[in-house]
């Protein structure tokens, strides 16, 4: 009951502002453009290849790239806005657990993304109507997308918990997400002395197998542990008010 109230309040706040609608509109326009151009590229240049087999990997890598750049816009407000409004004091003096507050914010963000990303199911549906295909590969794409977004949303929530200024939260989240995504693009540039750990942090490397239809538990574990770790940091950062004496 209490949790549901928190969750619905978060969701209402999202849909009370125009931002979510604008983000959805821009996302839909871009993903539609990618669908058209990726399909067209395969039809024009994919000699002899099965279009349906190759389209999804390209398309979903493109779509995911738009999605993760949208994450900061959605997550920037979750804690920063409550801090600047002073409503954080209302939440943290109510008889609820800190983790309920965090999870209500996380679930609200993920609901927004489910609605935005869910609309992309239209593209396989259109192809399926023209030529039925084996869509089992798509489950792994959506699982990977969910895990990736979950981790990136948690990164954004954590950064939002550090500041009162939404734009600062957004910019730092952009930095963190793009760095994680591209960390490994030039593997040779990463010094050996870093022990290969840094290379393991690259989010793209962990997502890409899902786009190919491969579900590997190591990659699942990466996203889950990144999400949980960021959640843990958020809890600690919010607790710090108790001894720092700041909202």
């Amino acid at each position: 009951m209490r949790f549901l109230a928190l969750f619905l309040k978060e969701l209402r706040t999202f849909f009370a502002s125009p931002l979510v609608y604008i983000v959805s509109a821009v996302f839909l326009a871009l993903s539609g453009w990618y669908f058209y151009t990726d399909l067209d590229a395969l039809i024009t240049f994919g000699f002899g290849e099965s279009i349906v087999d190759h389209l999804w990997q390209r398309l979903y890598n493109d779509i995911v790239r738009i999605l993760i750049t949208v994450v900061p816009l959605i997550t920037m407000r979750v804690y920063a806005e409550e801090k600047s409004l002073g409503t954080i004091e209302l939440l943290y003096t109510a008889p609820v657990r800190d983790i309920e507050i965090l999870l209500s914010k996380y679930l609200a963000c993920m609901t927004v993304f489910a609605m935005i990303a869910g609309s992309t199911a239209l593209y396989p549906y259109l192809i399926y109507r023209v030529s039925p295909f084996d869509y089992s590969q798509l489950w792994s794409v959506y699982l990977g997308g969910f895990l990736l977004l979950s981790a990136m949303v948690m990164v954004g929530i954590f950064i939002s918990s550090l500041t009162e200024a939404q734009l600062i939260a957004a910019m730092f989240t952009y930095g963190a997400i793009l760095l994680l995504w591209n960390l490994n693009w030039n593997e040779a540039a990463i010094p050996d002395s870093w022990g290969g750990i840094v290379a393991q942090l690259c989010a793209f490397d962990h997502f890409e197998p899902f786009a190919r239809g491969v579900v590997d538990m190591r990659h699942v574990a990466y996203f889950v542990s990144l999400s949980v770790f960021m959640g843990y940091l958020t809890m600690r950062s919010m607790e710090s008010r108790e001894w720092r004496g700041r909202r």
Binding site: R2, L6, T13, L85, G86, T87, L91, P95, V96, G245
Partner: protein
């Protein structure tokens, strides 16, 4: 209902609250009085569990705030210094949300209606909070604090920034609530506590410097023995007769009006109200009285006095 034991709060090297202990009994209205920056808000934030004390403990309705914050907060209705409102919500939505978060289940709609009735918000139910005036926002803040019928109300500067009419209304509202709940409110305005509260805790620089009843405080500030008198009459004679009044220790001419009236400063023995005797004197002598005012003490004067008393020295 509210108990604080040796509360200490450090912000880095700065000790904001330096060992404050007090108790508030069930059904009482107690005011935390002190200048800005004296630690009132910090004390209230520790009582609500928003800040953890550096050392010391507090309990609400017998529940320790540190060890069982959720149970303790169930008993609290809290109005923060900066009223915590969501500008995009309507008044009704907001109050429903707060009630739900505090675990009000069945009868939530009627509870919200009652609260809006009590706080005079019924006509604003469908307005967005962001579009309300300061006075109405403050009311929404108070409504938010009482919507779940808490045992304890903690109100941080409930009348700050309101116009005089609204202040009167809010004070009446708090008094009305106090029959049912225990109230702790903070203020830096001296008359506020004597009007609203039964007991007063005076805080200065993070310390509890005095504890008094509201009546005792009023006597302290009013009965400190200085009158301002403005009248038309022969100065020499006025002065000699004034000093002859029982209880008057001194009188002098402070100023002269162009209209011909003189302004006198009259000092009296402490705890003596000589206004009636002076008024009688003036009437008997046929002088024309223009003003007779008991000078009330400012908060700053009271602090100086209390600090003098507790230190046992006179500056």
């Amino acid at each position: 209902m509210i108990e604080a034991k040796g509360l200490i709060k450090d912000y880095g090297r700065n000790r904001a609250v330096k060992g404050v202990s007090f108790k508030v009994d069930k059904g009482d209205i107690v005011g935390l009085l002190g200048p800005n920056g004296s630690g009132k808000t910090t004390i209230m934030r520790m009582l609500t569990g928003f800040f953890a004390p550096t050392s010391g403990a507090c309990s609400i309705a017998g529940v320790d705030v540190q060890t069982d914050p959720r149970e303790a907060r169930r008993h609290i209705g809290y109005l923060p210094e900066r009223v915590a409102l969501y500008p995009d919500m309507t008044v009704r939505h907001y109050l429903k949300f707060v009630a739900r978060v505090h675990g009000v289940g069945r009868g939530i709609a009627s509870r919200v209606d009652e609260t809006m009735e009590l706080t005079g918000l019924t006509e604003m139910a469908k307005r967005h909070i962001g579009k309300l005036s300061k006075g109405y926002r403050q009311r929404v803040g108070i409504a938010q604090a009482v919507v779940h019928s808490p045992d304890v109300l903690i109100l941080d500067e409930p009348t700050v920034g309101l116009d005089p009419r609204q202040i009167v209304e809010i004070r009446a509202l708090i008094k009305e609530l106090a029959g049912r709940t225990t109230v702790l409110l903070s203020t830096h305005i001296l008359p506020e506590v004597s009007i609203t509260c039964r007991r007063v805790l005076i805080i200065d620089q993070g310390r509890l410097v005095a504890e008094d009843t509201a009546q005792g405080l009023t006597q302290r500030t009013v009965g400190h023995g200085e009158l301002l008198l403005r009248l038309v009459g022969p100065e020499e004679r006025v002065l000699s007769l004034l000093t002859a009044v029982d209880g008057v220790t001194g009188a002098e001419v402070a100023d002269r009006d162009p209209s011909g009236a003189s302004v006198y400063h009259v000092t009296t023995a402490a705890d003596r109200d000589v206004r009636a005797s002076i008024a009688k004197l003036v009437v008997d002598q046929g002088w024309s009285l223009q003003e007779l005012t008991q000078n009330t003490m400012s908060l700053e004067d009271l602090f100086v006095r209390i600090l003098e008393e507790s230190a046992g020295v006179t500056f």
